[in-house]
Assembly symmetry: C2
DNA sequence: TCAAATTAAATTGCGTGCAATTTAATTTTA
DNA sequence: TAAAATTAAATTGCACGCAATTTAATTTGA
């Protein structure tokens, strides 16, 4: 008789623990550029797309305005992004990078590789993990 | 030239997104027994070990007293656990289950299987994921 | 043995996450 | 076309997570 309530039988707990562990690993690197992990993710979206609405960012990061609005205000205070209402649709807020925000990209460039190395995970393992995770994330409600 | 700053090149973002997604999947099931996911994890530790110090729980869940103290106070308010200073070492707080806390286990029993089914993940994939994750978690500072 | 170091929780402060509600703008439709 | 429905952000409220500090108890070591 299996005991599915035992911690070491769980899959979800390791995922939850790993997520926090990975963010911990990022911290010293992100501290150097004064960013939190979610703030770094938002900037990653903007480095790739220059301008995005709050909703578009939320769609990519799976975060809602309740999380993003205050986070974006903090990035604005740090002079990394600009928030402005769309001219064509006043409901929409468009987020774009300041020059400072664009420049931060250079400093951030080495972070992903450093992290992979630090985690000591092989490229094959990364692929396997990503495939399973993407499959799990795709089965949305 | 690879662009490691692209979101879809990342491993860490999928892990972070999956962790939140999984907790979302738990929510409706845990709502029925009025628990958050971290509260459920603490109870899982106690269902397995009856009595644990704050530090012992923190060691198993990788959480510190800053997170656990208020969480445990909430579980105490719900009459699910008892918090009491150790007689032999006044610094230590021992956490044990109330009868109500013990009984909750029955209701929680079906949750893990339900979740695995809902996620649509195979037992083999679970094993693969867990092996990689455990390897990553083991390489502690 | 007793001051210094260590340890366990608690506290403080801040930044998420997210449900639920609110506000304001736009779109739909009767 | 004007009320109803929808949509995008913002707001509110609560529960983590975690760094840093504090408090109190215990252990160590000169």
């Amino acid at each position: 008789m299996e005991d599915y309530l035992k911690l070491d039988k769980q899959l979800c707990f390791p995922i939850y623990a790993l997520s926090r562990e990975v963010i911990q690993r990022y911290r010293p690197l992100l501290d150097e550029i004064d960013l939190t992990y979610p703030q770094y993710l938002v900037l990653m979206v903007l480095w790739e797309h220059q301008q995005q609405t709050v909703n578009q960012i939320g769609g990519k990061l799976l975060l809602d305005s309740g999380t993003l609005t205050p986070l974006l205000k903090r990035l604005e205070q740090k002079q990394l992004v600009i928030r402005q209402r769309s001219k064509t649709d006043e409901r929409v807020v468009e987020i774009s990078l300041t020059d400072e925000g664009k420049q931060l990209r250079t400093k951030a460039e080495q972070i992903p590789l450093k992290l992979i190395q630090e985690l000591g995970i092989s490229l094959e393992e990364i692929t396997v993990m990503k495939n399973i995770i993407n499959k799990l994330l795709k089965i949305k409600k």
